[in-house]
């Protein structure tokens, strides 16, 4: 494993935007910046914040590096996992390339086994998640993991992670969470104040901004502007657009393929119900808790994701969202070979249909080969609403 300080060998072949990305991160590192790559909503960001380490989301959302990844990983694996690994393998992502460490969790089988191979290329720290939240000792196990993580980061970066800094980090992260929730809530009105895809793109951009303060400001600005424009009578979405809740696997890789297609065919995404949405971000951390580390641990463990069993909390939450956002139809995206979301889709479908709302599941990957077919299904679904 090598620490990267220089540029990758293939740098000269990159297009301008990518070169620029590399140069920006290189500069950040040269000025003493530390960078951790994160891949999941369960990553306790506050620990890294308090260690003075910037975080960046490395969740693979592009098909580009999948052929590279398939030299090592099996074909029949979730595209998110392949794409993420492929970026590390091919040195094509500046954030992956320059990250000092990558933080993973024992979530789904594909991811946790991929980390073993990723560890050949990068320094990786794995947090072991319990398989469910309902055992009396689950919280303790996870708390122990967080303590280990804290120690590991202190050692790796030669810093002390103080209680004061943890509290500061919690406050800041809570602000980000509140800002994100106020962005999601822009969609409550009919018609909503934003296109859902605009929101998805803003979110994606956010994960690449390593200045947290700036990230919060960007979101707050966006919300402010959208509110003003709406108050001034601007309506970016037609009032007749069908209101869609998008649930399932992380949707960052299918913004074009599913998100845009929904919004180009008479629909609008009013609720983004993947793990980067309201379900996760409405969970705040008690800033004044006696044991702040415990409070951090408890909050992260309470996130509802299909990797947990049981996971009724996700279904219950979606039920609430369907009412809150006056949803006309639910579309679930399952990434190819994602067993946990795919199986859980049955429970999701039952709940949605029992609520009298049409439901459609799409299984897809990041390739464009099924775009025509997907477009027909999405357009037809919206036509029937």
């Amino acid at each position: 494993m090598e620490e990267h300080t220089g540029l990758p060998k293939t740098f000269e072949e990159f297009v301008e935007a990518r070169k620029q990305g590399f140069l920006t991160v290189k500069e950040f590192k040269e000025n003493g910046g530390k960078l951790a790559g994160c891949l999941c909503s369960y990553t306790p960001h506050e620990i890294l914040d308090a260690a003075g380490v910037a975080t960046v989301g490395l969740c693979g959302t592009s098909n580009e590096t999948i052929p590279d990844a398939e030299k090592v990983l099996p074909k029949n694996l979730c595209p998110l996992i392949k794409s993420t690994y492929g970026f590390a393998y091919s040195d094509k992502c500046p954030y992956t390339y320059f990250s000092d460490i990558i933080i993973g969790e024992t979530t789904c089988d594909g991811k946790k086994k991929m980390y073993e191979l990723l560890a050949e290329l990068k320094d990786v720290h794995i947090l072991q998640l319990p398989q469910g939240q309902d055992r009396p000792y689950a919280k303790d196990i996870w708390y122990e993991e967080i303590c280990l993580f804290r120690e590991a980061m202190e050692k790796k970066f030669g810093v002390e992670i103080t209680e004061e800094n943890l509290r500061k980090a919690v406050k800041k992260r809570n602000r980000l969470r509140k800002a994100l929730c106020s962005m999601y809530q822009l969609q409550e009105t009919c018609p909503p104040a934003l296109k859902g895809t605009e929101m998805m793109l803003a979110l994606q951009q956010g994960t690449f901004t390593f200045d947290l303060e700036k990230q919060i400001a960007n979101i707050e600005n966006k919300v402010e502007q959208a509110r003003k424009a709406y108050a001034a009578g601007e309506r970016p979405v037609s009032a007749s657009a069908k209101r869609i809740l998008l649930t399932g696997c992380p949707s960052g890789g299918v913004i074009q393929k599913v998100g845009m297609v929904i919004e180009n065919n008479g629909g609008v995404i009013v609720c983004l119900d993947d793990c980067s949405g309201e379900r996760t971000n409405k969970l705040l951390i008690d800033e004044n808790a006696d044991d702040i580390l415990r409070a951090i641990a408890d909050r992260y463990l309470s996130i509802h994701c299909s990797v947990m069993t049981p996971n009724d909390g996700r279904i219950d939450n979606t039920k609430e969202m369907v009412e809150k956002y006056k949803v006309d139809g639910v579309i679930e995206v399952v990434l190819q070979a994602c067993h946990t979301f795919n199986v859980e889709a049955t429970q999701m479908r039952r709940m949605v249909e029992d609520a009298g709302i049409p439901y459609m599941k799409l299984e897809t990957d990041y390739a464009t080969s099924d775009s025509g077919q997907l477009e027909t299904r999405i357009a037809a679904f919206i036509e029937t609403l």
């Binding site: 099924d370 077919q373 027909t376 299904r377 357009a379 036509e383 029937t384």
Partner: protein, 249 residues
């Protein structure tokens, strides 16, 4: 005022013309290489009968719906098959459309689409599968059904068209009677279709698309579904008829 529906499928293009709520004309063409070309040919054929932009509204559907430049709008084949089938059958049930590259199941209730399913990228259980197999046996579709009705059960287990083709080749190699192979091929399609539409089950079914006049196929489907499967010659045009119904004046 005429209402014209144009359904550009992956292998066949269909057109239907309505006048005062009645079906007055249908056309059937090979889609060929260019959907755009086919669409222009349809326009020309209708023009000769006095149906033009001046006195008609056009809606395009099907996989090539975007290649009909004179269409007033496009609607997906799901909605169109649903509407068209309701026009033809006027009863609650599930529409089964075995198309050139997609197979769909559409649950209809009081003229509304309640739910639909469509096969994924794979061509098992579609017209494509039958086309590959009939070519391999050197038969037309009618001949295949005719032979199958005389055959004894042979199982073709591969779902994938490519693997199933090799399976057929090895059956031919082993000297399995053609009737039996034909039987296996039809059953394979029936099985896949039944599996696909298990989520949109109905008390009765309506078969639309290119296989609608194939009594043997209808019979086998009905046998597997344990429910009646109705069809009629016009059902081939269900998509186009649905599109025509959606063409506003």
């Amino acid at each position: 005022m005429y209402q014209v529906g144009i359904d550009i499928g992956s292998s066949a293009a269909k057109a239907a013309v309505l006048n005062e709520g009645k079906l007055v004309k249908t056309l059937l063409l090979d889609t060929g290489f260019s959907g755009r070309n086919t669409a222009d040919r349809i326009y020309g054929m209708l023009e000769q009968e006095g149906i033009t932009k001046e006195n008609a509204a056009y809606v395009a559907t099907g996989y090539g719906r975007i290649s009909v430049p004179y269409a007033d709008r496009t609607v997906t084949e799901i909605t169109c098959h649903g509407k068209g089938s309701w026009f033809l059958f006027q009863e609650n049930g599930t529409v089964i459309d075995v198309g050139g590259q997609d197979t769909k199941g559409i649950m209809l209730k009081n003229g509304r689409i309640m739910k639909f399913v469509m096969n994924d990228k794979c061509s098992a259980g579609t017209g494509k599968f039958l086309e590959v197999m009939t070519n391999r046996l050197g038969l037309t579709l009618e001949e295949l059904s005719g032979l199958a009705s005389l055959g004894n059960p042979v199982v073709i287990s591969s779902m994938c068209t490519v693997f199933a083709e090799s399976e057929v080749i090895s059956l031919i190699g082993k000297g399995t009677p053609r009737e039996d192979i034909a039987f296996g091929i039809v059953e394979s399609v029936v099985e896949k279709v039944v599996q696909l539409i298990s989520q949109v089950q109905g008390d009765q079914y309506f078969l639309t698309g290119g296989l609608c006049e194939d009594e043997y196929f209808c019979g086998r489907l009905s046998h597997s579904l344990k429910a009646p499967v109705k069809s009629m010659p016009e059902a081939r045009y269900a998509g186009a008829i649905g599109a025509a119904l959606l063409a506003e004046e």
